[in-house]
């Protein structure tokens, strides 16, 4: 039993490492993860930095400190999408057949992809933490807060990766997964990623208030701009778990259907 678990863990780790290398070697997968969110962060903080002076804007040290969490979540959502595209490319070129013909759990193939996406999430978190530190953001909860941010961002990446994987397994086409790219921005703008809900107009404000993404963003933002509040962190973890379980369940169903039809 333990031997089998170790063997499966080795497979997941090897496929995860391949996934990270694949992202690094394919610019069209790597660019959206870092370049777009960093550019958007620079444009927004440069252009709308005085938003923090608005009445009722939450008390933050700087607009960059407020925006970092949004940039991280944007990046991991795109990482989930890129992971889905990469999996769909594997399906298109028949590489998944090679994996499915090996004596391993087929779900291990999906978990390997998600492990890679989670590792990318951790790297993304560190990238934006570094940007924050370079540009003078003081993380209110210090090193512990940064470590917690890495955990939340990495877990979010895995959760969004599950949805990307499910769509890839269901459609088997990279173009379909890629087509969801704009949806990432719609969901982001209808959350508190880039603007506080209390300053939004209706119905966007209500949508943002209940958008699970807002809970994740606030969970990541809190250690940057304020002190930990257990309730906020539990909400963030619950939102990540909810999205993650939903994505993994969808992936499981899509994988079983694919195994039946051999598609």
């Amino acid at each position: 039993m333990i031997e089998r678990l170790v063997a499966n863990a080795r497979v997941v780790a090897a496929l995860g490492a391949r996934s990270v290398k694949q992202t690094a070697r394919r610019p069209q997968l790597a660019a959206p993860l870092v370049i777009f969110p960093t550019a958007l962060l620079a444009i927004q903080t440069g252009g709308a930095g005085r938003a923090v002076d608005l009445p009722e804007f939450p008390p933050v040290e700087s607009f960059l400190a407020f925006m970092l969490a949004g940039a991280m979540v944007q990046s991991v959502m795109l990482a989930g999408n890129s992971g889905g595209i990469a999996l769909a490319l594997d399906i298109e070129m028949g590489f998944t057949d090679r994996l499915f013909a090996a004596p391993i759990s087929r779900f291990g193939v999906v978990l390997g992809r998600l492990a890679g996406t989670a590792a990318l999430g951790a790297m993304i978190a560190l990238w934006f933490v570094a940007i924050g530190l370079i540009f003078g953001v003081e993380f209110e909860e210090g090193v512990a807060g940064v470590l917690w941010i890495v955990v939340l961002v990495s877990a979010s990446s895995l959760a969004f990766g599950g949805i990307g994987a499910a769509i890839a397994l269901k459609s088997g086409k990279a173009s379909v997964v890629q087509g969801l790219f704009p949806l990432v921005f719609v969901i982001l703008f209808l959350s508190t990623a880039f603007f506080p809900a209390n300053l939004m107009l209706e119905p966007a404000a209500s949508v943002a208030e209940y958008n699970p993404l807002s809970f994740i963003v606030e969970g990541i933002r809190e250690p940057i701009v304020a002190e930990f509040q257990l309730a906020d962190q539990l909400e963030a973890v619950a939102a990540i778990l909810g999205i993650g379980l939903f994505g993994i369940a969808l992936s499981w169903v899509a994988l079983r259907a694919r195994a039946r039809t051999g598609g």
Binding site: R10, R25, G262
Partner: protein
């Protein structure tokens, strides 16, 4: 115990499309079985079922003694698979791919590295091992695919059109490796649309058309079923006496209708009579200008069984065979 056995194996797809329609076959351990048929005949669907990538919708199949539907993990432990189009990640290096394959088959890291080096050497890719697969030629990709399929030291090796699209030299290299593997005891199930490939490599050939097995046997037996070798000859200018020629040829077998100025005869006793035919014509004062002994091909078998030619038959007749 046969290496592969199927009973009324069938696969129907959505929309009522029957890709494989009740195939019965038995492949003995240590045999090279050639599965020959045109595109869309059902070869790949059969291989996908036998390699557990696709569930049958009818009948049953066992590979290395395990049922492909109910004992799929056990089947996967015993097989090596090189699928059509060499499904390789162009961003990985050859070495990375082989080592990933070793991990998938549960080999310890050190053993995987050692085996990877040996297999890359075996297929002549040591120098290219650290290059990305995207930079490999078609032949190199197929050889890498073959090396990856050998990682688990398979009892049964499935090769789905391993040489399609390759130049004659690369094709020859793959053939050589397949023969070597078989001589080491590996059972090989090889699908192909190339007549010569099946003829050269396979101990037995199964011909599939429209999802059904239409003929099966050794290449020699299948060809013998459709007729004897025939001789095609032309006489030197000014010496064309058709009637006299045919009268002489009829002593050696059944004359066939002349074609494009050639005299044809189906030799009763095969190639051994060629010398006697030439001597007889010479004694009658008829000088032979050209002479060709034409053996029946697997395409003739295919035509006899299905009424159609196999795709690629003409291409091979034009000299596509490896050196």
């Amino acid at each position: 115990m046969p290496a592969i056995k199927t009973e009324r194996l069938a696969r129907e797809f959505a929309g009522g499309i029957t890709a494989v329609d009740g195939i019965d076959l038995e492949v003995a351990a240590g045999e090279i079985y050639g599965f020959l048929g045109p595109n869309g005949a059902g070869k790949t669907t059969t291989v996908r079922m036998l390699t557990t990538l696709l569930l049958p919708t009818g009948g049953s199949a066992t590979v290395a003694g395990h049922d492909v539907a109910s004992e799929a993990p056990a089947v996967r432990r015993k097989i090596g698979v090189a699928l059509q189009e060499a499904a390789l990640d162009p961003l990985m290096t050859g070495r990375e791919l082989i080592q990933l394959q070793a991990t998938l088959h549960g080999l310890p890291r050190a053993r995987g590295r050692e085996l990877g080096d040996a297999l890359l050497q075996r297929v002549g890719l040591t120098l290219a091992a650290d290059r990305r697969v995207g930079t490999y030629s078609g032949g190199m990709r197929r050889r890498l695919d073959l090396a990856a399929a050998l990682v688990p030291s398979p009892e049964v090796l499935f090769l789905d059109e391993p040489t399609t699209g390759l130049d004659p030299v690369s094709r020859g290299a793959i053939w050589e490796e397949v023969e070597k593997l078989n001589s080491e005891g590996t059972t090989v199930f090889l699908t192909t649309q190339y007549l010569e490939e099946a003829d050269q490599l396979a101990d037995r050939v199964g011909i599939i058309s429209a999802g059904r097995l239409v003929a099966e046997g050794t290449p020699a037996a299948l060809k013998a079923e459709v007729g004897r070798p025939h001789l095609e000859l032309s006489l030197a200018d000014g010496e064309v006496d058709g009637e006299q020629c045919e009268s002489i040829l009829s002593r050696f077998g059944r004359p066939l209708p002349p074609r494009d100025g050639l005299h044809l005869v189906e030799l009763e006793r095969g190639a051994s009579e060629v010398g006697a035919v030439v001597r007889a014509l010479d004694e009658a004062g008829l000088a032979v200008e050209s002479l060709d002994l034409v053996e029946p091909t697997l395409d003739d078998v295919f035509v006899a069984k299905t009424g159609q030619h196999l795709e690629g038959a003409d291409e091979q007749a034009d000299g596509e065979s490896p050196p």
